[in-house]
């Protein structure tokens, strides 16, 4: 399953860091962050609960870049 989320992040490097952090979260098969589009695309692993996973993604991203925001609907 793939989902796209709107995000808010200030610098390109921070976006890269968010991408790295999101990829390491359990339940995330693949993550891409577009700084330009201010969007994050997440592909979840089979059977993962996307809402729970995204909470962890948000936490992981806040850790590397506390200014960032992911809008989870």
């Amino acid at each position: 399953m793939k989902k796209t989320y709107k995000i808010e992040v200030d610098c390109a490097n921070c976006a890269l860091k968010m991408e790295e952090a999101a990829k390491k979260v359990e339940g995330v098969a693949e993550a891409t962050v577009s700084f330009m589009a201010q969007k994050m695309k997440v592909e979840f692993t089979e059977g993962a609960d996307d809402k729970a996973v995204m909470q962890n993604v948000l936490k992981a991203c806040k850790k590397v870049e506390d200014d960032c925001e992911i809008f989870l609907e």
Partner: protein, 644 residues
């Protein structure tokens, strides 16, 4: 500017004013240090905080860390100088932070601005759809809520929100937001209309054939917004580069701070700690990789944005990059290089017929053929009627007899006319002329006498030859045409357009094979692009390095299958796409080379002590500003080229 950016701006102004004031305030000693700390914390508290948080979370080497270490180091060094009896230098540390923030702000504003520019270029998202209630009042509803089959009303000046078919009204539609083409399209009841077009003239009622989410406009917006997700090789390179580069620079700085001083100590010389530490700090400021990290994605984003404004949709930075390296372009013939419709391209009356009718012989020949074929719905007869151009008066024709596979005989104004292929003429016992042109031949006999023939063929688009030439000029090594048509037709078109290679009489499956052969024969770094109309060449589109679908407006399959989508069917757009991609890549490489070269030179100068903190600030912020300004150029495509 956003709120956040405004806050940064105020901090910059306050810190700058304070610094200027402090410059003239006659305070000595440690008090000066304390006073300078005020603007320092005003301007840099968030950076320091992020650096500390980074260290706590184990994310050490980033630009916040670089800046924090460099400026804190500079301040500490100032205190040390003060302690050892000299005059401490505190302004530099504050200045580094100040200029770093100015650079960051500039970058944020520039990026935000180009994001908005691109959004404006792609301003095709409709906000509402009008639905008429029973009493004739219009109600604005969210396009998302309109069901398939609903009749919506589009007033002049409004955007068509959802794909559909016109049920009532005549108007002209402006498709320029989708195709970059400024010529309006006329529509009347029964015509399909595509969402995203602007209604120019009259009121239209449209029965929707798709949901909003499936409509052209949604598909296009999705595609453009997601395009920056697919990263180019160059972008990935920079990401990887930054991952190794920043730690490498930090360790080099550490080495620069320690090694020479220790060597000095061992050799019995004075250690000069402060000199070398200062150089190491300068080194850190110079090394910040921001210029690259920001300008390269920005360039690709700009390039893709500029292209979409011309009706060229690129599905990812990687494709834009690959397009610039394209050396082989493979075209499908029908619908791509040619119009895909039959037209009368030659009228050749026989000598006897010409003698009889003089200057009107050609027109007469066409008239007879058009009348004889007037009851047929075959594409050939349609093209004859179209070429004739006048109303067919049905009463002039009688006794129409179609001879399957051969042609037709009919009475026109009481004269027996036979129009058809060579077999028909043979059957009638007439000797016909051999056609010298390429295409389908319609022989005409009038009153059992051979009257001449009409040549009908698929015509080459007027821009095709120019496009092939422009591609060659842009560095394409070889142009190839694939077609299912006969060799004679294919060779003729290829010669007319100046193509390098032709493969004719191919079945659809053979096209994939032909592309695979070409892929195997090319060099590893050379890319192959396939250009088709996207209708039945999806396998070939996906097999090529870059699949380009042309004339895709309204064809979902093509938008789905291709990597690059040309919204209209002008082959010149391919050349324009290549030009945009080459310009974009040139800017990317300019930025990489420029940023790395300036940094390398400054790093060396810094290490040997020639570069001071001010030069370091230029190498960091100045280079970034220039790189961003250069990257923004990607967005611009001149109007002249857009409408070429």
């Amino acid at each position: 500017m956003t709120k956040k950016q405004k806050r940064v701006l105020y901090r910059i102004i306050i810190a700058a004013v304070l610094m200027a004031v402090l410059h003239f305030v006659p305070v000595e000693g440690y008090l000066r240090c304390v006073l300078y700390l005020i603007p320092y914390f005003i301007i840099g508290y968030d950076i320091l905080r992020k650096a500390v948080l980074g260290i706590i979370h184990g994310e050490i080497f980033d630009e916040n860390f670089l800046m924090a270490v460099a400026t804190v180091g500079a301040m500490v060094l100032g205190v040390y100088q003060e302690a050892s009896g000299g005059e401490g230098e505190f302004a530099e540390g504050v200045a580094v932070m100040l200029f770093y923030q100015i650079g960051e702000l500039f970058q944020a504003v520039a990026v935000g601005k180009s994001r908005r520019n691109i959004a404006a270029l792609m301003d095709i998202r409709p906000d509402y759809a009008n639905i008429e209630d029973e009493s004739g009042n219009l109600e604005q509803v969210d396009p998302d809520e309109v069901e398939v089959g609903t009749v919506i009303v589009v007033q002049p000046g409004e955007k068509v929100p959802i794909d559909g078919v016109v049920t009532e009204g005549v108007s002209s539609l402006d498709t320029s937001a989708l195709t970059g083409e400024s010529v309006p399209r006329e529509v009347r009841p029964g015509d399909e209309v595509i969402s995203g077009c602007v209604n120019h003239a009259g009121l239209l009622r449209i029965r929707t054939t798709k949901e909003f989410g499936e409509s052209t406009v949604s598909k296009i917006l999705d595609l453009v917004e997601n395009s920056s997700m697919k990263k180019a090789r160059t972008e990935n390179f920079i990401t990887k580069f930054a991952r190794y580069y920043t730690p490498a620079v930090c360790y080099s700085a550490l080495a620069l701070a320690l090694v020479p001083s220790i060597i000095n100590l061992v050799m019995g010389n004075p250690a000069n700690w402060s000199t070398w530490i200062f150089r190491a700090l300068t080194f850190l400021v110079i090394s910040c990789p921001c210029a690259l990290v920001i300008s390269i994605p920005l360039s690709f984003f700009g390039g893709i944005g500029g292209a979409s404004a011309c009706g060229i949709l690129v599905k990812g930075s990687n494709y834009l990059e690959a397009l610039a390296e394209t050396k082989y372009v493979v075209f499908d013939k029908t619908g791509t290089l040619t119009r895909g419709v039959f037209q009368v391209t030659g009228l050749y009356p026989a000598a006897a017929f010409e003698e009889k009718h003089g200057g009107e012989a050609q027109q007469k020949l066409l008239e007879y053929a058009a009348y004889a074929e007037s009851y047929s719905a075959h594409p050939i007869s349609r093209s004859l009627k179209e070429a004739y151009g006048q109303e067919i008066i049905k009463t002039r024709v009688s006794d129409v007899e179609e001879i399957s596979g051969n042609g037709v005989t009919a009475q026109v104004d009481g004269t027996v006319i036979a129009a058809g292929n060579a077999r028909l003429m043979k059957k009638l016992g007439l000797i016909h002329e051999e056609s010298t042109g390429v295409g389908t031949v319609v022989h005409v006999a009038v009153d059992r006498e051979y009257a001449g023939y009409i040549l009908i063929s698929d015509v080459v688009k007027e821009q095709s030859a120019g496009a092939v030439e422009a591609l060659k000029a842009a560095g394409v090594k070889k142009t190839v045409m694939l077609t299912g048509d006969s060799k004679a037709v294919a060779d003729h078109v290829a010669a007319e357009l100046g193509l390098d290679e032709v493969r004719s009489e191919l079945l659809p499956g053979d096209k994939v094979e032909a592309v695979e052969q070409l892929l195997a024969a090319k060099g590893a770094k050379e890319k192959l692009a396939f250009v088709g109309d996207g209708i039945n060449d999806a396998p070939v589109l996906s097999r090529a390095d870059i699949g380009v679908a042309m004339g895709a407006l309204g064809s979902d399959a093509a938008i789905e299958a291709a990597d690059i989508v040309l919204m209209d069917d002008n082959p010149m757009k391919l050349a324009l796409a290549m030009e945009i991609s080459r310009k974009c890549l040139r800017i990317v490489y300019e930025n990489i080379v420029f940023a790395l070269a300036v940094k390398a030179v400054c790093l060396i100068l810094g290490a040997v002590g020639i570069a001071n903190m001010w030069l370091a600030i230029f190498a960091d912020v100045g280079v970034m500003v220039l790189a961003v300004l250069n990257a923004v150029r990607c967005l611009k495509v001149s109007d002249r080229k857009r409408h070429a």
